[in-house]
Symmetry: C2
Subunit: 119 residues, 2 copies
DNA sequence: GTAATATATGAGCAGATACTCATATAAAGG
DNA sequence: CCTTTATATGAGTATCTGCTCATATATTAC
């Protein structure tokens, strides 16, 4: 494991802090996944989709009308959310109804909103 | 307010759902701010910085050593987090010590981690 | 004052991202 | 079978982002 001192010009003032931070640090793999979760929430269109689905399942063209963006754009975002396992769909004829797949989604949005509103 | 029907090719299958979703929708301004909050968490380097600062305040070069990225890169990320009012600093001589400015930061990270680990 | 240290900041660039547009697919109706 | 409807998907593109590199600033030591 590199200490950081063996790298060009990389000084450490408080080695103890760095060492103890390394001990409690989240693994690189988990950090990567974590950042992708937040990335899923880090776009206005996806946020609005996730928030709308909190109330009830909706199909692509309804979401398109709600957000006032193209159905293609909605579909692309839904694919990303599907890949992230945040939403799932159910087919009824030609219509696909999307729903939230995870109870943490509303919690994360609510917590972030709380943060905003306390500023 | 546009109903969505007056736009080229924008169909609505379930008008009732769209209308009720519009009623409970978060305002555009808040959606924008919300997405920026999540964006602040949506990068591995920033996540690691925020997580490290949960334990104790740290200076730029310590964070640089911890993350193994340049001090300039850390400084740029810290500026973003400062602008977002997620961190603040205190000067002691030439050293700037950064700390978390918001109690929701650890909560958001913990909640997202919980989500990950329940998969 | 000058030099050194710790950090900030602007420009520039490679990669990521959120859309558009055209095309493909899947189910239902005829 | 062919057509329509609802959605998916690939390519292309403009914008955004996270870094590097060079330079600027602020504080301390001399």
């Amino acid at each position: 494991m590199a200490t950081g001192q063996d790298r060009c010009g990389c000084r450490i003032i408080h080695l103890d802090k760095v060492v103890s931070a390394r001990e409690t640090a989240i693994s690189a793999a988990e950090i990567e996944k974590l950042s992708q979760v937040f990335k899923a929430f880090a776009d206005p269109s996806r946020l609005r989709i996730l928030h709308a689905l909190q109330e009830e399942e909706m199909c692509v063209c309804d979401l398109s009308a709600l957000l006032e963006i193209s159905e293609s754009a909605v579909s692309h975002q839904l694919r990303l959310l599907r890949t992230m396992r945040l939403v799932a769909n159910r087919r009824e004829g030609t219509v696909l109804y999307y729903r939230l797949l995870d109870r943490h989604v509303p919690e994360l949005i609510a917590l972030a909103l709380l943060h905003l509103r306390e500023e």
